[in-house]
């Protein structure tokens, strides 16, 4: 008996939920950023599970593009984090509660 499709979907739901909880609970910008990466990965797992189930390569191409978006997000997001740190000397999201630098 191999793993059922729903096992993968359940794992993905659990990982996504852990990511959501992390974003809500954490106060450090970098930790929140990593929780978002975790959520993206949970979605990727769903895509690849369905791709394998339907024997269609489209799901894996979506994952490819999601990874590119994640890389772009990492570059810009970390740039923003560094800019905030330069101006506020802190990585706490409560200290960066206005849109002005």
């Amino acid at each position: 008996m191999g793993p059922h499709l729903s096992w993968y979907l359940a794992l993905s739901a659990v990982l996504f939920t852990i990511g959501v909880v992390g974003v809500v609970v954490k106060r450090n910008v970098i930790s929140m950023f990593m929780c978002i990466e975790l959520m993206l990965n949970a979605v990727n797992l769903t895509f690849i599970a369905f791709s394998s189930y339907f024997r269609d390569v489209t799901g894996q191409l979506f994952v490819f593009i999601v990874m590119t978006v994640a890389a772009a997000e990492a570059a810009v997001g970390l740039g923003i984090i560094i800019a905030i740190f330069r101006n506020r000397e802190s990585l706490d999201v409560d200290d960066a509660n206005i849109l002005k630098l």
């Binding site: 191999g2 189930y53 024997r55």
Partner: protein, 223 residues
């Protein structure tokens, strides 16, 4: 049976590392736990007959992105999150309740999906996850999204460079017209947030000295 065992091992590793990532207070430990999640997910991708995606997962996520994150953590010298009084004390219970609802919804749906015949077929004989089929898909049917992705990356590069630039310095071509420059201080030096005292300069050298002086002031405030 063997694959089920492997699934349980890797799924447990992924969930354990994810929980540890949220629980850790030091961002560096969080980052290392996240790398564990990525490795576990890459193993699951191999089980799902997607070897190319597994390789990309390890190279791009565990390699490039996490190196960037760890680099920033080290650069900013982030200390542990201090346990101070939580300002929004209702946030933690709200998060936990929302998480429970989300999990319950997911399993409610999965219960019905689970009744359908959704056993994963044996991947042998399928070429879906191989590099050749992914390349064919990317450069024929999905060429347009691929090109849009390249534009997205270009925008990310430009955005990152713009953000990382130092803002307060005079650009090489800047010239101050004598008597013409009356600026609020926070325009000259973005660090002086909320300080709207006007700054008057008469020459370029004076403006440069002004900004340089404020730079050192900012540095001494840092210490």
């Amino acid at each position: 049976m063997f694959t089920a065992l492997l699934f349980i091992i890797f799924a447990g590793l992924a969930v354990g590392c994810a929980v540890s990532m949220v629980v850790q207070r030091n961002p560096l430990y969080s980052a290392i736990s996240l790398i564990g999640v990525f490795i576990a997910l890459a193993s699951l991708y191999v089980m799902l007959a997607a070897p190319f995606m597994a390789a990309v997962q390890v190279i791009v996520y565990a390699g490039a992105i996490m190196v960037l994150v760890v680099f920033v953590i080290m650069l900013l010298n982030v200390e542990e999150e201090e346990r101070r009084k939580v300002r929004l004390r209702y946030l933690l219970p709200t998060g936990v309740v929302l998480a429970a609802v989300l999990i319950a919804e997911a399993f409610f749906i999965l219960y019905f999906v689970g009744n359908a015949d959704a056993t994963l077929r044996d991947p042998a004989g399928s070429n879906v996850g191989l590099t050749a089929s992914i390349g064919t898909g990317l450069f024929t049917k999905y060429l347009m999204p691929f090109e849009i992705t390249s534009i997205l990356l270009l925008m990310a590069i430009v955005g990152a460079m713009t953000l990382a630039r130092r803002a307060a310095l005079l650009s090489p071509g800047a010239r101050v017209i004598p008597g013409a420059q009356v600026l609020p201080r926070h325009l000259v030096n973005p660090r002086a947030v909320g300080d709207a005292t006007e700054v008057v300069t008469h020459t370029t050298a004076q403006a440069a000295a002004l900004i340089g002086e404020q730079e050192t002031e900012g540095a001494s405030e840092k210490e």
